[in-house]
């Protein structure tokens, strides 16, 4: 194995571009996935049974079939119905819809972890259902859903490689193309692996930082610094 070659690959525009595409796919799929997941998770708690049924079918269908099929379907079958999307857009939509189904389950478990008493107390104060969700349930659920969301995020980094099936030039396809020209598989895969590890590391660091921020005890130190700062401001204010 040649380390020089790995290094060359790492700094090559092709690999860098592939990594960018992978990152872009992951982040957009994640953002839309969380939004979709939240909607579905809330629908699962709806009192109107057909809505619950809809949510269940969504989760069943999109978790149940491979993303690969979903990508191929959106890219190759939808045009038959007059909907013609670019490869990248097809990929993003497929990944987001798929991610949404997984996120829905994660968020559902997080919402369930917040005790009923906490909701009741918020209701007693006159908050609406939406207010209870926003100010009480979600903040408390957040800390619990963060690790599995981190899983999804890092998993999506790898799952996004499946979009090579519609020739979107993401990282792994670049590596495979490079390797198939000269059979330097280990070098090409190592270079891609290093990129994946680097991106995962960034995501994990982000997750760890968010977890610390959402821990009320730890965020107090920060708050006190902020308050400390505020305390300084009036001495400047000379009204």
């Amino acid at each position: 194995m040649s380390f020089q070659l790995v290094l060359d690959y790492l700094v090559s525009p092709a690999f860098f571009h592939g990594a960018l595409i992978t990152l872009l796919l992951t982040v957009t799929a994640l953002v839309f996935g969380i939004v979709a997941g939240l909607v579905i998770a809330l629908l699962q708690e709806a009192r109107f049974a057909p809505l619950r049924g809809l949510a269940l079918v969504y989760v069943w269908l999109f978790r149940g079939t491979p993303v690969l099929f979903q990508i191929i379907f959106i890219y190759n079958v939808l045009p038959g119905f007059g909907i013609r999307l670019s490869a990248f857009l097809s990929a993003v939509i497929a990944l987001s819809l798929n991610e949404g189904a997984y996120m829905a389950e994660i968020l559902r478990s997080g919402l369930r972890a917040v005790t009923r008493g906490q909701r009741t107390a918020a209701l007693a104060l006159g908050l609406t259902r939406g207010g209870v969700m926003r100010h009480i349930v979600l903040p408390q659920a957040m800390r619990i859903v963060l690790p599995p969301i981190g899983n999804q995020m890092i998993g999506m980094l790898k799952t996004s490689a499946l979009v090579s099936v519609v020739a979107v030039e993401e990282l792994l396809l670049v590596a495979n193309q490079t390797a198939s020209a000269n059979f330097r598989y280990f070098e090409a895969l190592s270079a891609a692996g290093i990129y994946y590890l680097a991106l995962s590391t960034i995501f994990m660091a982000g997750q760890a930082w968010l977890e610390r921020t959402l821990d009320p005890k730890r965020s107090r130190a920060r708050k006190q610094r902020r308050t400390g700062l505020k305390a300084l401001i009036p001495t400047v204010d000379i009204r």
Binding site: N76, V166, A167, N176, Q177, A179, F183, R184, F186
Partner: protein, 247 residues
């Protein structure tokens, strides 16, 4: 000919890797491996008094498995080129050309592997030699200040063909036998345009770098297979034209 005594995955057996998604060379029918390469290696093994043990995997797993000592050879219609020859040793056994295929009716008005490709989208399959050919065409177009060729690389041949069928690509580069097989299986959908090109690209059986004993054994056995007419019979069986022969 005789099989080397040592250095094999399993003594007395040719353990070969194959990515069986490339008709008519290797594919599956009713759950069984079949195709020219499969018959060919069986004929070679008979000459070597060896058994065969196929390992059917994805194309991208073949080289690591050979280098990791999991396989003795790769028998998967691998195209030879100088860069690849730095990684493995090849025993060539056929030369095949390539063709440009478009949708039936030629909606994109492509006339062959020429300037009519500039500005068009070309699908190729990962692992084939056609990707480098298409990229060369892209460069040629750019050099002539024409619109570039969009080269799309798909993981398997089926993905590439599907793309052409759905009109996502304007043309596809594939091996002449591969294209012939598709046109036979899926009639009235595609058509070949222009003439065959790079008709002397060789495909070969790959061995680990420096595995001279096995190389010698394979070469000797292939000579025997050619000599007794089996090679020619197999070409006919799989509807390959006589022009592909190296012998």
């Amino acid at each position: 000919a005789e099989l080397p005594k040592a250095g094999l995955v399993e003594a007395g057996t040719l353990t070969y890797g194959v990515a069986a998604t490339f008709a008519p060379f290797e594919f599956q029918r009713d759950g069984k491996l079949t195709g020219f390469d499969i018959d060919f290696i069986d004929a070679i093994a008979r000459k070597l008094s060896a058994k065969t043990a196929p390992m059917n995997m994805e194309f991208k797993g073949l080289i690591p498995a050979l280098q990791g000592g999991r396989l003795d050879i790769i028998n998967s219609a691998m195209y030879m080129n100088p860069q690849r020859a730095e990684q493995v040793d090849f025993v060539p056994y056929m030369k095949i050309g390539n063709v440009v295929v478009v949708q039936a009716g030629n909606p994109a008005k492509i006339t062959g592997r020429d300037e009519s490709l500039c500005g068009k989208t070309v699908a190729v399959t990962l692992g084939g030699i056609q990707e480098s050919q298409a990229r060369a065409d892209d460069k040629a177009c750019r050099d002539k200040k024409l619109s570039p060729v969009q080269v799309k690389t798909y993981p398997t041949a089926q993905d590439s063909w599907l793309t052409l069928r759905q009109g996502r690509a304007d043309a596809i580069f594939d091996s002449t036998p591969g294209a012939a097989k598709v046109l036979e299986e899926v009639p009235n959908t595609f058509q070949v345009v222009g003439s065959e090109f790079e008709a002397n690209t060789s495909i070969g059986i790959a061995t680990r770098k420096g595995d001279a004993a096995l190389q010698a054994a394979l070469k000797a056995a292939i000579a025997e297979v050619v000599a007794d007419g089996t090679y020619a019979t197999l070409l006919t069986k799989w509807k390959l034209p006589a022009s592909v022969t190296l012998f």
